[in-house]
């Protein structure tokens, strides 16, 4: 069933129709939120808020528009908002607490791979990117969106997004070369 049919039903309050859309897009939203917020709990909160807000706003959604781009725009806003709230919260935390929380081995897995595992190292490299570069990289490379859709989602111009993606790739290169060429 197409997004258009599902979103039309969901707009009339059909939660089951909406649940199909949630299942269809949850992974994409979760991938973006996890990398942008670098915290599983914050990411899940942001994704949940996104789906709840989208559901409430669906009756006013212009159904000629693309549901995915609209949903991702809400998600990006949620990620930005959560990141900002967290940053403000962290200002009130002693630096040691932040350092402990951000230490790779403090994730509850005990002796984590400390970057030896390919996936962990790739995640660490991407998460080290500046946020707007990371956002553009995730949308372009991981979610494989076109620049036009990215512009709609992020509110940035296509030229700015191309520049961010280019800078992201340049910034990633040394770390990825270390992962794949050593």
């Amino acid at each position: 069933m197409t997004d258009a049919i599902l979103q039309a039903r969901a707009a009339e309050g059909d939660v089951e129709a909406y649940s199909v859309l949630v299942r269809r897009y949850y992974s994409m939203c979760s991938r973006i939120a996890q990398r942008m917020l670098r915290d599983p709990e914050d990411a899940e909160d942001a994704v949940q808020d996104t789906f709840l807000r989208a559901f409430r706003a669906l009756p006013r959604f212009d159904h000629r528009k693309v549901f995915r781009a609209w949903l991702l725009r809400i998600l990006i806003n949620q990620c930005r908002t959560h990141a900002l709230k967290r940053r403000r919260r962290e200002r009130r935390l002693p630096r040691d607490e932040i350092a402990l929380r951000d230490t790779p081995s403090s994730d509850g897995n005990g002796a984590s791979a400390m970057g030896h595992d390919e996936r962990e190292r790739v995640v660490a490299a991407v998460e080290a990117l500046e946020p707007l570069l990371r956002e553009a990289f995730l949308l372009k490379y991981v979610e494989e969106l076109e620049y036009k859709e990215m512009a709609e989602i992020t509110g940035a111009s296509i030229s700015a997004l191309k520049m961010r993606v280019k800078r992201a790739c340049e910034a990633l290169r040394p770390r990825l070369e270390a992962i794949y060429h050593e």
Partner: protein, 215 residues
């Protein structure tokens, strides 16, 4: 020759990131929350149609309402030379600058409303100055050059005091900018007001160019 499909290493990394398992329990939690709210709450007025940071508007005057000459706090390192229509130069700050505050590092900010820059239509030449004695290269980035670190390189003063400067024509309005040192470190202007936190909490500097000459 660049790969039309993009950077091969980046593609490889992206493939790894796409291999994320879907958390079925998290989806169930979303649906449970939805059902709960669908049964109870009336629809709220949710503004989801605009990409806007959820932060307060800047406590900075609207474009054209103040000139730098009447707002000393904005003088900072940006020095405006009015051009066109015989407008005299308006020096708004001493040119001496301070060393960069290492804690003031900033990152790229998303463009702010371009509408703020539309007023007036008359460009003024704004000089940006930064003291960075250890830098090999400094450039100016802002919404006016698409945050492109290669677009506006700054010149190193010959007197050897570590001063870098560049002048760019800016239209009336509010302009958000930062400096990029050695192509890698983004810093706000230590002598200019900071723009409000946006997007992911990054900070940049702001300068407001007045809409016209002031006597």
């Amino acid at each position: 020759m660049s790969d039309p499909r993009g950077d091969p290493l980046a593609r490889r990394a992206a493939e790894v990131l796409r291999r994320e398992q879907t958390d079925e329990r998290a989806i169930e939690r979303v649906m449970a929350a939805l059902r709960e709210r669908a049964n109870g709450d009336a629809p709220e007025d949710v503004d989801v149609d605009h990409v806007t940071p959820s932060v307060a508007e800047p406590a900075i005057p609207a474009a054209g309402r103040f000139s730098l000459t009447t707002w000393p706090a904005l003088a900072a390192a940006a020095v405006i030379f009015a051009i066109g229509l015989g407008v005299g130069a308006a020096f708004l700050a001493p040119r001496e600058t301070r060393a960069i505050n290492a804690d003031g590092a900033t990152r790229e900010a998303a463009p702010v409303s371009e509408a703020a820059n539309a007023a007036g239509g008359q460009s003024q030449l704004v000089e940006f100055v930064l003291v960075a004695p250890r830098a090999a290269r400094v450039s100016l980035v802002g919404e006016f050059n698409g945050w492109d670190a290669s677009a506006t390189p700054m010149r190193h003063a010959e007197r050897g005091d570590g001063t870098w400067s560049v002048s760019v024509p800016l239209g009336a309005g509010r302009h958000v900018y930062a400096f990029v040192i050695d192509n890698s470190t983004w810093v706000p202007d230590p002598q200019a007001p900071l723009a409000p936190e946006q997007w992911y909490g990054e900070r940049n500097s702001v300068v407001v160019v007045s809409g016209g000459p002031r006597s």
